[in-house]
Amino acid sequence: MSTILEINNVTKKFGGLIANNDISFKVNKQEILSVIGPNGAGKSTLFKMISSFMKTTSGEVLLEGKRISNLAPHIVARMGVVRTFQETTIFKTMTVRDNIIISHHLRSNSNLFGFFIGSSTARNDEREFARSADELLEFLSITDIGNELASTLPQGHLRTLGIAIGLATNPKILLLDEPFAGMNHDETMHMVDLVSSVRDRNVTVLLVEHDMSAVMKISDRIVVLNFGELIAEGTPKEIQENKIVIEAYLGSEDDSIGL
């Protein structure tokens, strides 16, 4: 398998606090890789640096060999690394369909002036966006809520919409920030299926998550952070049996009960 994303010796310091210390790992094409760790381990910080919402203190992130760290977020998005947000971040006063349509902006061939005068390229774009949005709605089986206002949706649908927004940009890598947070078992299982099907669209998925059962089920590989350090990396099975990881989660190996 070929490497798509490389994280090389990435460090982030906030004053004296070290949020990420010398983190290095690789992400293979079309795999689902989870970043886990206890609260405050530096998972979200790492995500923000990969999507360039935050600058690295040192180290670099490479996408297919090209440096993407410390660029503007919209440029990183254009290169194919797109994030969803931890909180349910969507365009609230637009309909679900409009949310998805606007997220196609990256694919547009026309410039802003073309859109203003309604050039033929712009009209083609609009048609293509609408068609692709409908296709996405169907793919995520949310066609029935397409015309609802995004602010009125329940949690589960919001999360799905978040993923739809990410997919609409046609990313190479989708970063999902806690996609299972606050979900019940059924919703989680539904989301697990969804994320797996996202991978089948030729998208590499990187996710930060707390829900262990979901992570173990869905991931090809797992990276574990603790206090800003990378402490383990491997398949779900390897991670489950890793002593350091168990210690990090449970505190001591004396009363180890296994994960």
Binding site: V82, T84, T89, I90
Partner: protein, 328 residues
């Protein structure tokens, strides 16, 4: 609402402001209303600029600065360099656009009340600049600016020299309302195109917008420079009517009024600034008879309006039909 009925409404609107209003003024003999309505048209152009900055999620209380700058550019070009009025107005607009890009590049990073506070200062800065620069003639300002001359293309006269006209007020009225129609038509198109959607995405969530690849910095600057362009041309024509410009022609209070026009008309509607300006300008004039209580009554009404109709006059039910028309 179908395209045909949209066109019918547009036609009725055109006939009203280009035909019926001048005719009513003619038969009633209230010539002073020309001046009032011309002002409303010009101020609503500047207000629609403010509206656009609201649309990208920024509270803009600095439009007076650009209106003043636009006024001075025209005054200087016409009096000192003998440039045609018709050329000076777009130059004034572009000048304001350019200045706003320089200012906007840094201040548009600010959000909410911080951006509002900085823009509030801009008007005062513009006034002080006009007071101190030699070319703007300090506190004395620039007066006796020539009326707009003839506009001709390839020797064919399109607009006659204003000084030869019997009714200059009517001529200015036509210039202002026709410009207003073009500005609002352009704005309507802008908002209903992809650009409008992108602006809305900025207004709602800049982080998410940039994560889907929108260049938020450039888009903010474009919106702000269009806004300032409109402020510039509005101010430029405004001072040409009184044929004079002073550092106090547009003050902080005027900047606040531009913002109020948008609030009162309705921030969610393209035509909000037009209705808002009409309401506020006429309302203020009508309250003139109340003498020393004018400001008290006026402010109370404005406060009550904002409390009762936070989405502006256009959110009233009688306008709802037309709202749907605009949204589609």
């Amino acid at each position: 609402m179908s395209k045909a009925s949209k066109l019918i409404y547009f036609f009725i609107f055109l006939v009203t402001i280009l035909g019926i209003v001048p005719w009513l003024i003619e038969i009633s003999g209230r010539w002073d209303y020309y001046y009032t309505l011309t002002s409303v048209a010009l101020l609503s152009i500047a207000s629609s600029g403010v509206w656009l900055t609201f649309y990208i999620g920024r509270i803009n209380i600095g439009q007076g600065a650009y209106a003043l700058a636009g006024g001075y550019v025209v005054a200087i070009l016409v009096t000192k360099y003998d440039v045609s009025f018709w050329l000076s107005v777009p130059i004034a607009g572009l000048f304001c656009s350019f200045v706003s890009m320089l200012i906007g590049a840094s201040i548009l990073r600010l959000r909410g009340v911080y951006f509002a506070m900085i823009t509030l200062v801009l008007t005062e800065v513009a006034k002080l600049t006009a007071m101190s620069l030699p070319i703007t003639n300090g506190a004395k300002g620039i007066s006796s600016i020539a009326l707009p001359g003839e506009l001709s293309i390839f020797g064919i006269s399109i607009i006659p020299d204003f000084s030869t006209l019997a009714n200059v007020k009517l001529a200015f009225y036509y210039v202002a309302v026709i410009l207003m129609i073009f500005v609002f038509a352009g704005m309507y198109r802008l908002v209903n195109s992809r650009i409008g959607h992108l602006c809305r995405s900025l207004q709602q969530n800049e982080e998410l917008a940039s994560s889907i690849g929108v260049n938020i910095t450039i888009l903010r600057i474009i919106a702000y420079s269009i806004s300032s362009f409109l402020g510039g041309i509005g101010g430029a024509i405004f001072i040409s009517i009184s044929q004079s410009v002073y550092p106090t022609t547009f003050q902080v209070a005027d900047s606040i009024n531009f913002m109020l026009n948008v609030f009162v008309g309705g921030m969610g509607y393209v035509f909000g600034p037009m209705i808002g300006t009409l309401f506020i300008y006429f309302g203020w004039d009508l309250l003139f008879t109340t003498g020393k209580y004018q400001l008290l009554i006026y402010s109370s009404i404005i406060i009550a309006l904002i409390l009762v109709l936070p989405n502006g006059l256009l959110s009233l039910r009688i306008f709802n039909k037309s709202n749907k028309r605009e949204a589609k």
